[in-house]
């Protein structure tokens, strides 16, 4: 799975990527699977699966709650991989896992990424692992052919942007706010300039996440980027019918419309 080609194809179809986030096995195993498949069938382009961690320090209240609930219900990494294996049979949509570093380390990076490869996980986001500290993880991810997606924050200076962009093998995850995940009233005014700066250091795809919760915000944010990640707003929806409508609505709003779109 090559994310660069995947985004190129989307662009040829005049589309931008919609990446909804689901906390693994939340609110239950069956619901999680139903919701993920519904999203895939309703127009989502990549599914991000959150592997719950006891201490999710980059997450706001919604994802904290979903993580805690999943853990309380007996979540294990092994159960998650079994569930993903079941989903993989039903859809070809790319899967990426988002989790914190400790579960991967403890499970064993080698075993973890081997499981990713076997069960059809295509990419990995670890928000508390910066490129300077990715040694043991990176080796195993590369071996398993799992793309590594790194985050750029509004505070990241240009020199670090270059480093992060050069290390990334999936897409650049542009964090739209200084803060944790969860909804915001507005998307920040500095976002266009920030994405422009990233574009100047890399040709790799750029997706925007954190604080994007409505179709309108997604439309506004994605104007400058190749895709949008929606977490807390999606996690709150546990009814597949409502989810289907939401995904369709967001997706239809983020198509490339005019002919003035500039791409690198």
């Amino acid at each position: 799975m090559n994310f660069i080609d995947y985004f190129k194809k989307l662009k040829e179809r005049r589309e931008k990527a919609l990446i909804p986030y689901f906390t693994a096995l939340y609110p239950s195993k069956a619901s999680f699977e139903k919701l993920a498949i519904t999203a895939a069938e309703s127009g989502a382009d990549i599914i991000e699966i959150g592997l719950p961690f006891s201490d999710p320090l980059a997450d706001g209240p919604v994802i904290q709650h979903s993580s805690q609930t999943a853990l309380k219900n007996g979540f294990t990494i092994a159960k998650m991989f079994r569930s993903i294996a079941g989903l993989r049979v039903k859809t070809e949509i790319p899967f990426i896992i988002m989790t914190y570093l400790n579960p991967v380390l403890r499970y064993g990076a080698n075993i973890f990424f081997t499981q990713c490869r076997k069960n059809g996980v295509n990419g990995m986001i670890i928000p508390d692992m910066i490129p300077e500290e990715d040694g043991p993880i990176r080796k195993e991810a590369d071996k398993a052919g799992v793309a590594m997606i790194y985050l750029v924050a509004p505070t990241t200076p240009e020199k670090r942007m270059r480093l992060i962009a050069s290390r990334t093998t999936g897409f650049i995850y542009a964090v739209s706010v200084t803060g944790v995940t969860g909804q915001r009233e507005n998307i920040p005014a500095y976002l266009p300039a920030m994405v422009k700066k990233i574009r100047m250091v890399t040709d790799k795809p750029v997706c925007i996440g954190f604080g994007i919760s409505t179709p309108e915000q997604a439309k506004a944010a994605v104007k400058y980027a190749d895709g949008v990640i929606m977490g807390s707003a999606v996690v709150k929806i546990t009814n597949p019918v409502v989810l289907k409508k939401f995904i369709k609505q967001v997706k239809s709003g983020i198509r490339i419309t005019g002919s003035t779109q500039r791409y690198s």
């Binding site: 961690f53 201490d55 400790n102 300077e132 505070t155 803060g179």
Partner: protein, 395 residues
């Protein structure tokens, strides 16, 4: 010592495992700290505050009654006599001066027992800064006097109701606040934990404990001690005491962790004794975790030791065997609390009572000339409600 390296690694431990948003602030802090270290004016200002405001040097008190009881020479390093009642003020003054230099007007802090929260609120009042302290609701209840003190000092105490509602979750919330307010805020971490440069910076600010102790014991005994004991939660008083003594090879250094109801049970906070290396709160260090890497709930009668992680330098000192790490149960700590109170007229914090309790474990092996130093890291006024409750249960 040739560690930590430039990436903040103590052997394999330490480093920076935090979201990208924070990294530039850590670079800024590391730079400000490095330049402060070379700045004579900074040292003069800090020394003056430590002496005239905090009350340094603290005495190294020869505890005659306790010595008679245990048939050894027992000295107590009286950090409990410092302003605000614990060693935490040493680090708070240092970091607050650096924060001021960086132009940050707002400080945030986490607290377990409340001692670091009180010290943070105190320096914020002194230097005219805004202060927000995160504290688990379990801890707010068991350390209520300190909550009141922080509020009187003008700090906002924000209750943390997530997870175990103790120190671990208070740190999570403080980090989330920092990610959100990174440009205006300094996160004043109270223990030798967190991403680089915190572990080394906190250790340096706390090293005044060990440096004074060395001078004082040389003066009173003409030699280095045989044993030095200190309690270990995150590990700031212990690293401050141990670090200047690491090169004194004859000195046996013992860190005492919270054994809770016993390390054979699930109810303890003995990270180094029972944990395995992992990542929590920004650094790689020993951690109490399950086989999936989820952090395990801890228990200790002492809020300040009730933490599943530990500073990375302690992990390194454990692996290199320079420091021995042991445990003491809740009950043993409570007994030691009562013992010190009645024999010496000193009410120790429940945290420090763990170190006191360990005297009983080594004393039988000691002669009457064996010199034992215990870091009495804080006073126990904050704990009297807990003690009272425990006594009621027992009577």
């Amino acid at each position: 010592m040739n560690y930590p390296d430039k990436n903040g690694k103590f052997g394999p431990y330490g480093g920076r495992f935090v979201p990208e948003t924070i990294i530039p602030a850590l670079d800024e802090l590391a730079e400000a700290y490095a330049s402060s270290k070379k700045d004579a004016k900074f040292h003069a200002e800090l020394s003056s505050l430590l002496e005239n405001y905090a009350g340094r040097p603290t005495p190294l008190y020869f505890a005659k009654n306790l010595s008679n009881k245990h048939r050894a020479k027992i000295y107590l390093k009286r950090e409990d006599l410092l302003h605000t009642g614990a060693h935490k003020i040493n680090n708070c003054l240092g970091q607050a001066l650096i924060a001021k230099k960086m132009g940050k007007r707002r400080i945030i802090a986490e607290t377990g027992a409340g001692q670091h929260g009180v010290a943070s609120a105190t320096v914020a009042a002194l230097l005219g800064m805004e202060c927000v302290v995160y504290m688990g609701t379990t801890d707010m209840e068991r350390q209520a006097p300190n909550v009141l003190r922080m509020r009187l000092l003008g700090a906002e105490v924000r209750p943390v109701k997530t997870g175990t509602m103790t120190l671990k979750d208070a740190i999570n919330e403080a980090i989330r606040d920092w990610i959100t307010n990174i440009k205006t805020t300094h996160y004043l971490i109270g223990s030798a934990v967190g991403p680089h440069p915190y572990p080394v910076m906190v250790r340096d600010f706390q090293s005044v404990i060990g440096i004074e102790t060395k001078k004082q014991i040389r003066k009173s005994e003409g030699r280095m001690p045989d044993y030095v004991l200190a309690c270990v939660g995150g590990g700031s008083n212990s690293i401050g005491m141990f670090y200047p003594l690491l090169n004194e090879k004859s000195v046996r250094l013992i860190g005492v962790e919270a054994g809770g109801r016993g390390i054979g049970t699930k109810l303890h906070a003995a990270t180094l004794s029972k944990g395995a290396p992992g990542v929590l709160h920004g650094s790689y260090s020993y951690l109490l975790q399950d086989k999936d890497g989820q952090v395990i709930n801890t228990h200790s009668v002492s809020a300040g030791l009730d933490y599943p992680g530990v500073g990375p330098e302690h992990s390194y000192l454990k692996d290199t065997k320079r420091v021995k790490y042991a445990t003491v149960t809740d009950d043993e700590a409570l007994t030691a609390f009562g013992e010190l109170t009645r024999t010496e007229g000193i009410i120790p914090a429940l945290e420090s009572s763990h170190a006191i309790a360990y005297i009983g474990k080594i004393a039988p092996k000691c002669g009457k000339n064996t010199v034992i130093i215990v870091c009495l890291s804080g006073r126990g006024d904050k704990d009297i409600a807990i003690i009272n409750e425990k006594l009621k249960i027992e009577n």
